[in-house]
Symmetry: C2
Subunit: 318 residues, 2 copies
């Protein structure tokens, strides 16, 4: 018995970092997806294979935890525990989402794993069950994740998230725009960036309080702009948001170069996406202008992706 | 009868742009100066000569207003009207301050002109008189200037300025630091930048209100850091201030490159100084590190100045 499920990656449009202090953030699902096939097999344990990592590993009990595939196994394990059915399995991962890019690769793999494993064992889980189980696997990877990634990967579309208030689905038609993502080539270190921002904020609370307040209001305005289909306003707000990320110390020369090249090539807005310090920038482009922006970015970035916002969350495949 | 006076240029350390909306800003005088010699002559009118511009022009009545030397003549004229002594004059301008750089060249020339002209005609003006008369010449150049430039050029040192509250002298010892200034090579257009920021602020008032509030508090914290001699904190606050300038839309790729090169070369802080869009960046450097920073900046800027903060305002010379 075999089942295949897939789930999308995500991009944070506004609010990263500020979300840690309970300001709202907005994320969208994109049309890069992780696909997982779960198959009941004879024998023992769970074999996890990753096409992209070129790795295979058999897990039994809670071992080996050091494997980079352990989070996938963990997602399969908590799913079997939750549905009360255990079986030897093979779990195969195929992902279009660049790993360690801030595009939610690990959450998409977790979401697709949960859905595929349950279905292979004869259980169709509801979306909220899938999201919650995937969150547990995300905790293994990220410590204390915000929950944005597993939520957006499960439901698709666009969501506004606030720590104490949870998620709000944004009703929006993203067909007029595409996103261009460009890699700085610099390694991301989310934990280090978050710690650096926390130190600076603790040192200058009287400055950072209104600054965070501005970021929160910006996310609310951005949500309104999305629901109104006002992508020109969304772009302007993304530019302002980028400046606030620069203010809290997570930008650098390479990221700035990418951001300004994208704006000069005609993007409606461009900013760091994710923790900064490295990783990707995202440019919001009216359809028809995305290739010009992508071309300008390819001159200074070795990895550029042109993606659509996707309404589609987790789904089963044939 | 001849008299020579000189006055310093200035650098804005924090608060430019935000000062327009009544947030505080901090400026310091630097050891680049404008020198003016005023000489009573036979004949008619006022002849103005500029060594740097390579120009000479004789003015009579209110003509010719189109001359780039007219503001110098105007400063001489209002001074003679104020002291009630009129005479044919030669006014010679020598300035180390790069013009149109945001370093207050025109105000320094105006301040030195007022002082030199009055003294050549036998009157020694008080500092506040000099500053007020120079302000009138600045109005000819800039429309409605903040008054920062003529004030700092007259008094020297460091001042905090707020539109509705005027000027406050900061007591500070700047001997541990030097400033490195680097030209983006892009033309400044203060009026255009101010108009652009005003449009964006009017469009997103709920975002910009707390953002300006953050900038205001930042200037207050920066003032405290200066008075405490805590230049590490001042540098961090300048970096945050730079991000806020990026957020309001006055940065670009060239300015960002200069800012990050300076920080990476060891500056305590680096930011746009002045209206942005072009013009200069300023880097705050501990003494001993300024040459490393200047060297890094010379690789990407054709004009780099290493300057000291100067306690000396307008003075008479032999």
């Amino acid at each position: 018995m075999s089942a295949v499920a897939s789930a999308p990656g995500k991009v944070i449009l506004v609010g990263e970092h500020f979300v840690v202090e309970n300001e709202p953030a907005i994320a969208v699902a994109i049309n890069l997806r992780a696909r997982v096939r779960a198959t009941k097999v004879e024998g023992e344990g769970v074999e996890v294979r990753s096409r992209e990592l070129g790795l295979a590993q058999v897990f039994r009990g809670d071992e080996p935890r050091s494997s980079p595939l352990y989070p996938v196994y963990f997602a399969a394990k908590v799913t079997m525990e939750y549905i009360g059915v255990e079986s030897p399995l093979r779990v195969e991962v195929f992902s279009d989402i660049p790993p360690a890019s801030g595009m939610g690769s690990s959450a998409a793999v977790a979401v697709a794993t949960v859905a595929a494993v349950a279905k292979a064992l004869g259980v169709k889980l509801a979306e909220d069950e899938i999201s919650r189980l995937a969150y547990r696997a995300e905790e293994i990877v990220h410590g204390k994740p915000s929950g944005i990634d597993n939520t957006i990967s499960t439901y698709g579309g666009a969501i506004a998230y606030r720590k104490t208030e949870g998620f709000l689905r944004l009703e929006a038609d993203f067909s007029p725009i595409r996103l261009v993502l460009a890699d700085s080539g610099l390694p991301r270190s989310t934990g280090e960036m978050v710690a650096r921002v926390r130190r600076l904020k603790a040192k200058y609370p009287r400055v950072f309080e209104p600054l965070y307040h501005a970021a929160g209001r910006l996310a609310i305005e951005a949500g309104k702009a999305i629901e109104a289909g006002n992508f020109r306003a969304l772009g302007e707000l993304m530019n302002v948001n980028h400046g606030l990320l620069s203010a809290i110390g997570v930008s650098n020369e390479v990221l700035e170069r990418l951001v300004y090249r994208a704006r000069e090539a005609g993007a409606l807005g461009a900013k760091i996406t994710g923790a900064g310090g490295g990783g990707f920038i995202v440019a919001l482009c009216e359809k028809g202008s995305e290739e010009r922006v992508a071309k300008a970015l390819r001159e200074v970035s070795s990895r550029v992706f042109v993606v659509d916002v996707s309404g589609e969350g987790v789904r089963y495949e044939e």
